[in-house]
Each structure stands twice: as C-alpha cells, then as structure tokens.
Symmetry: C2
Subunit: 216 residues, 2 copies
Amino acid sequence: MVIILTVVPRRPVPRRPYSSGKRLEISSRKRTAILAAARAQLESNGFLNLTLEALARAGGVTRQTVYNLFGTKAGLLEALFDQVASGGGMQRMRQVMQQSDAETLLEDFVEVFTNFWSRERLFVRRIHGLAAIDPEFGAAVEARNRRRLAAAARVVERWSATHGEQDVAGRTGRIAVLCALTSFEFFDVLAENLGSPRQAALQVLILVKREFASQP
Amino acid sequence: MVIILTVVPRRPVPRRPYSSGKRLEISSRKRTAILAAARAQLESNGFLNLTLEALARAGGVTRQTVYNLFGTKAGLLEALFDQVASGGGMQRMRQVMQQSDAETLLEDFVEVFTNFWSRERLFVRRIHGLAAIDPEFGAAVEARNRRRLAAAARVVERWSATHGEQDVAGRTGRIAVLCALTSFEFFDVLAENLGSPRQAALQVLILVKREFASQP
DNA sequence: TATTAAGTTTACACTATGTAAAGTCAATTA
DNA sequence: TAATTGACTTTACATAGTGTAAACTTAATA
C-alpha cells in the first residue's frame, strides 16, 4: 500500500494583514533597474550574449531576484517589451485616430510610427529580430502588427470616404502598402541607406502620399 | 624541478598517399544531409530550439561528426547561408547587370530579388532575424547588403544616363529607395499583408516603377 | 515586539556547446 | 592481400546558462 503525503505549504497562511508600501517601492525600483540593464545589454551586445547573471549584476541584485520578479527570461523580455511600447508614445495613437480630416490623419499616422521607430530603433530591431527567429515569440509580435493593420485600414477607409474613390480590391491593396511603408523593417532599411532616421521619416511620408495620390 | 613533456602528435605523418574518392563522397553526402536537416529545423522550429544533437540525429550522424565537418554552430550556419545564397539563383545577378536597356535592367533587378525572397522566404527571414539580434552575425549579412546597394547604384546610374535627368542628391535618394523597396524586409511585410508573395512581387515592381517615373 | 514579505544564499538538476582522445572499419594502396 | 589511411564513432569531460527549491536574513509593518 502506497501512502502519498500531501505537499506542505511553503509559506504559511498570513494571520494578519501586511500591505507593504516602502518595501514595494524598493522592489519596484529594482525591477526598473533590471529592465533598464536588460535594455542596455540587449541594444549593445544583442540577445545571444544576454545572460541573467550579467543582468542581475548590472541591476545590483541576485539572479534569483530576477526570477522572483519576472519568472523566466522570456517573461522579462515580455515585460520590457510592454514597458517600451506603452511608454514610448504609442498611446498617442488614440488621439491621432480621433482626427477628422483625412489628410491630417494620414500624415499623423505616418508620423507616430516613424517617430517611434526612430526613437526606439535599436530596441525594436532586436525585438523584431527575435520574432523572426523564434515562432513562439513571433506570435506575440504579430498580434501587435495586426493592430497596426487595423489602424491602417481605418485610415484608408476615412480617406476613401472623403475622396470618394477606390473599389474594395484597391482599398485592401492600399492598406497593405500603407502598412508595409510604415513598418519598422522598411524604415530601418531606409534609414540605413539614407544615413539618418530623419531622412527616412521624410522619405516614408513622400512615398505614402504618392501612394494615396495615385489612381489605380 | 618541473619537467614538461612535449605534446605527442596525434596524427602521425602519412608515409604513403591516400586520396579518398568514395569515402569523400560519403562524407559529402553526410554534409549535405546535415545542412538539409539544419535548414528544415531552422525554418520550422526557429533558431532558439535548434540543437546540434537533434541535427546530428536527423542527419544520421553523431554530434561529433557535425563538429568535425563544420567546427562550430556558427560555422554550420555560415556554410548553410553560403549554400543557399549561391544555389538560390543569386548568381543570375551577373547576367542581369549586363543588360543594356535601362528599363529592362530595372525590371530584371527587381525580379531577381523578389524571386529569391519568394523562394527562400522563411530561410532568409531567420537569417536576417539572426543578424538583427546578434551584432557579430549582423556584420556578415551587412556585407551582402552593401553588395546590393552597389548593384542598385549601378542600376540608377544606368537609368540616369539614358533618361538624362537627376542631380547627384536626387540620385543617391533614389538608390536608397530602390534598395529599401527591394529589401527582403519590405517584401516580407508586404507579402504578409497582401496574402501572397506573388502579389507582393507585383506590388514592389509597381512602387519601383512609380519611383523612377516621378520627378523630384 | 512578533509578524510579514522581499531578497539573499546555497544547492541542485538539466540542457547545450565545445574539446579531447582512444577506438572502429571500410576504402585505398603498395 | 595485408598494412595503411582517414572519416566517423564512442566515451569522457569541462564549461556556461537556465530554471527550481528551500533555508536563511533583514527591514518594514501591525
């Protein structure tokens, strides 16, 4: 007869409330420090040489603390990804989409992305690279791209409504082109070849306007 | 007193010739099998889950054989990269660049790349992704991109010569745009959004032609 | 002042890369 | 045909990184 003992709870049930405060602040500061270190490391040395050991050292904590805060390496990257995306000006998208004038909407749409790609260029390059080599991670990034596609669709529809043109086929094509022209990958290659992100942003706007001025 | 013995040579100097033949064939077949397995693995499961152990199993050899043949994991990837690049139709570039008619040259230039990106899409995506996350590997890929930039420059110059237009500033801008429009990254995003590589290739050609028809 | 939770310390299991050296065996050559 | 050769295997080991577990430390809180 086999007797299986129940697992002993590691942390006893608390018998009186304890909502931290100062301790949570310290914890949060460490969290921020680790994320900052991860970002710097990722941008300078790339992903393959990014070790949690070095990260913990740079953040002034132990490797175990990193695991306590983020669970796994992938979890840490996700957290970093979210932090940059939310803090990087992507929330301006909402205001922009409220824009009523179709022409201004288009210009602002382009500007929001070229701005973001420009400021977070190295970081986004690494993240998208990671998505390209790893299917699992790629799925997470693809979800965000779909949101951009949806936004692009609304921009095109707004445009078509005021300019009263384009059949459905032409419209979907235009959405795809707008999406591709405002993609990070296109921006990055363009910036590389033109020598500066500023020039690339201008060029993207020119190409987008040309696309919308064309008659299919 | 410490006595250090000299290292015994592991493989004695051969005292009679021995140029294999059939054995080299077997070796070469195994090499091919390993590369094929690496490619399949890379395309389906990505880079992070690519282990030399699984590769060796798939190729029907030992892990040590992989090391004998390719040195390291990076060496194996380089070999695979070279194999695909040389065998994938990239050598057609030379013929294309001989083309005298500027219009046809431009069209063929675009076609060579969209063809290649189309056929080797997943593979190139992984390789470029790897270049994006790892600075060291990135340098190797960048060298190839510079070659494409040089080729694009020649195409633009040929065009400007026959069409007798464009100042130097306009020409360098056009080179950058041509390069960006024919880049893999742009093609990949476009194919994703349009639903097929075929459509993407057509769209790239349209955009390139529009760029060259424009007056700056 | 006892309790609580965050963080540290220490230890371990597991996986993967890379190196080293002895052993196997079929193809080659004298 | 028999010794030689070299590609491959087998076995072993070193190193590095990820991830888990549990006991211990310490400062903030009730």
